[in-house]
Homo-oligomer: 281 residues x 2
Amino acid sequence: MKIKSEIEIIQKKHKDSPTLVVVLVGENPASLSYVRGKERACLKAGINCLIYKYDKNVSEKELQKVLQKLNKDSSVNGIIVQLPLPENINEDTIIQSIVPHKDVDGLTTENLGLLAAGTPRFVPATPLGVQKMLSEINFQTDGSNIVIIGRSKLVGTPLALLLSSKSEMGNATVTVCHSRTKELSKYTLQADVIIVATGRPNTLTIDMIANNPIIIDVGVNRVEDESKKNGYRLVGDTDFENIIENVSKITPVPGGVGPMTITMLLQNVLKAYTNSTKIQI
Amino acid sequence: MKIKSEIEIIQKKHKDSPTLVVVLVGENPASLSYVRGKERACLKAGINCLIYKYDKNVSEKELQKVLQKLNKDSSVNGIIVQLPLPENINEDTIIQSIVPHKDVDGLTTENLGLLAAGTPRFVPATPLGVQKMLSEINFQTDGSNIVIIGRSKLVGTPLALLLSSKSEMGNATVTVCHSRTKELSKYTLQADVIIVATGRPNTLTIDMIANNPIIIDVGVNRVEDESKKNGYRLVGDTDFENIIENVSKITPVPGGVGPMTITMLLQNVLKAYTNSTKIQI
């Protein structure tokens, strides 16, 4: 892994390692599992990962104080707040309390604005992961027809900005479809790449594709399954089992975009570290 | 005009008027003419318009000092810097020196980020003007197929964010085409609305449209014309004279988007005023 070897250089040359702080509120089981995954990946790559756990009744003010302290702490390079937060806390207020140059999730207004301006600093990890997957299979986004289904602030919107930007892995002609799109298949039937990020199983079915497109499935949905111990299984946003017959490539759920997203988070932490220390690797 | 009557209420009730400062550097004739247009529109609507003119050799530092002073001056509600600036000045540095809540051109990273997040404060006047035109002809953007040609930070990109956002005059399925798009007509032939913002005459020709779309032409190009006194005439980005046969509506150049853009600037200044004074109209 390139990130790991770059961090080894930092450790050898500078006797130092990047540090990520993950702020976690409450006991949401999915959140706990995501945070554990991030922690494991950080440690494997040589990134210090500090988990700050707070009771679900922590106040917005207290959290803001914690973030203000982390913002000022020069030993902390990246800060993420695991979402969702409990209902009594305004998520946007908390996210915007992170200083933009430590916002490795790319969720602050400043980092979103820099992306929209074509001069990105930190791009959210999921869109970055999708772009990385296309690059790893040597797909030329330049001039291609890419349809994104979903316009969320976390995935669809930044992904559209990223893939249509004037850049090496950009320059695609991007259409953003969503719940108000009429005749969705009119768009998907013509696409070279379809990226599905709706959070709804079977958003994309076999009748909606043609000419063996590449499908990237960002969804992670729990579907009841009595044959499983925990009573459910994870599925994506596509009808994977049927659709797989007519695609050139498709990402599985689980195992597709998820792990790549974590890698992109590590990359952002490394970038935050090198930006702040001005270390050249 | 709704803006004018709202300002009359402010003037009557509060003995006050909104104030816009336009910073103008050098003697670019097109810029002078644009600024004069804005000044005239402001005065007509009851907005104070102060033009700060600087020699083309003014330094970046001096301009930043001017902006810092304007940022702090509570009698100033909106600030715009007329672009382009002379080459020795970094445009982005200057634009980012404007405090976001007076940035009525919507060009700072914070305002662009708020638009991308779906919670806009100031949207650039040209995209707002395009949206307003669609609303004035009672076109339902919701569910429509809109193709934007051009991905600039000033027009194409914010327009795509605006028209695809979850909002009353949004909810369109938007495709952003640009110089790297292959088979542009594949997209334009299917569009309900085509918005052209490339700065290149004849970007859109009659063979590229079908089913009488609505065309909004954002381009303003000077084309040599010996029959004119000044040796040129203004044209848009479409082949207007031929295309007009097969459209349901089309905006002329000059006279289409331009005047609407100025109206939207006034609306942003009024919004800056009411935001800062908390006056309810």
